[in-house]
Structures are given as C-alpha cells and as structure tokens.
Symmetry: C2
Subunit: 145 residues, 2 copies
Amino acid sequence: MAYQHILIATDLSAECHRVLRPATQMQSALGCKLSLVHVIEPLGLRFGADVPLDPGILHDQQARQATARLDEVLDDWPTLLPQDCHLRHGQPRAEIHQLARDLGCDLILVGSHGRHGLALLLGSTASDLLSDAPCDVLAINLKKD
Amino acid sequence: MAYQHILIATDLSAECHRVLRPATQMQSALGCKLSLVHVIEPLGLRFGADVPLDPGILHDQQARQATARLDEVLDDWPTLLPQDCHLRHGQPRAEIHQLARDLGCDLILVGSHGRHGLALLLGSTASDLLSDAPCDVLAINLKKD
C-alpha cells in the first residue's frame, strides 16, 4: 500500500474537500507525491449536441472559471502545489488515465456519488474510471454523511 | 483515512493474494479489523437460465468448494481469522453491500480487472460495487503487472 504518487481526480465542486482531506492525510502519512486533475468537458460532449455559440469563447470561459475555482481550492490545501494541478480539456476518463500514466501515478482518488441505474448510464466518473485504469482507484463515498 | 474495518470482497481466485496483501498491510499499519466475503452466485443467476440439475446438490457442492478454497487462502494469511470470513449466496453487489452495512465496514477492497465495453456490461464486480456502496471502495488493479 506504499503509494508513491496519488492523482486526485476532481470536479472542483463544493464536495471536493471530502476527497482532498483523505488525499492530504495520505500525503503526510505516506510521504507520497500529490497531483490533482480537473477535466473540463467541452459543452458539446456534455450535452451530446452542437452549441450555437463560438466554441473558442466558451472554451476560454470554462478554463477561466476552472482556474479561478482551482485557486480557491488551493488556498484551503497548502500542501497541494499549483504546479502539480492540471486542467485538461476532453473526456474525463481518457484524460485522467493518460495523465496518471504520464505522471506514473499508482493511485487515483475520486469522489463517488454511488449512482446506479439510469444515472450510472448517464455518467459516473468514478465508475467509469475503473475501466482500463492504469493503477488502483480509491472511490470516496460522498453519500455516506 | 483511518479506516476501522475493511471488508475484502474476493472471488478466491489465484489472484486474490494481490488484494489480500494490501489488505493485511493496511490491517497492520492502521490496526483495523479485517473481514472477508466471498459470494457464491447461483448457477441460474450466472448463466441467466435454469440448470437441469438438482439446485440443492449444486448449492452444497459450490459451498463445499468455496469452503475448501477459503481454507487454503486462510493458511497463507494468518492474520485473517476464520470467524471474520463470510460465504454468502446471491448477487455479489447486494450481498457485499449488505454485509458491509451489517458489519459497519468503512472500506471495501476489491480486485479489478479493469474491464471495459461489452465485458463491463457482462459483469465487473469492482465497477458494480461502486453503485450505491455504503462506504469507500478501493479497487486494486489486477492488470498492472
């Protein structure tokens, strides 16, 4: 269990602290490296349709919002370094797995809403991440409290 | 991350040691309680059809095989106590989640083959376990070596 490099995959929502807390605890207990990734999904991908707006403007706006939100999160978790936080554009599973491979991570930490049935088909990043994962995956249950 | 009670969900296959090793490491590092569950799926459930054999005989045979295999596994992992090992009959996700609730487990440890596509639809216990899990789930990647 001596994980060397943990990758936190997060949506940067208000609940992200419930994944960041155990991640930073593991960082200090195991002395491991900590990285974070947030994947910005193109709106066309999320809604499965073209959006009648300039995609370049939307792309920039999404990136600016994510950067601002990431800065807020980093203020609360000082052991997580800005240079170890990655914003990616694309399909979450593919981007997270690729980054985990590129960085040589041995554990992906992700929050799980424990969706089931139709909600699962509509997309659960945690469940999706298990398919073809390059390393272990720890799903933190966000429903239990 | 101070897990108190870990439930190992295993198929008792030859690969189960790759889940038992980190589980017993966590047990000694965290001083937590360790339980194990193996779910015997009724053949009718597994193949989606009736089997033209006495289900009672098959049930007993499956249970005997599982008990014998569990005894072999326990020989290799002495910190795992026989009274903390549970054999259940039924649908894996439902049985594992119910036992985790009954025992008050805060982490389920499971091996993951990282199946995707059609193989995932046909059944991946690890991925399936995330839906509606009563606690955190750590999926140990069995493909990475």
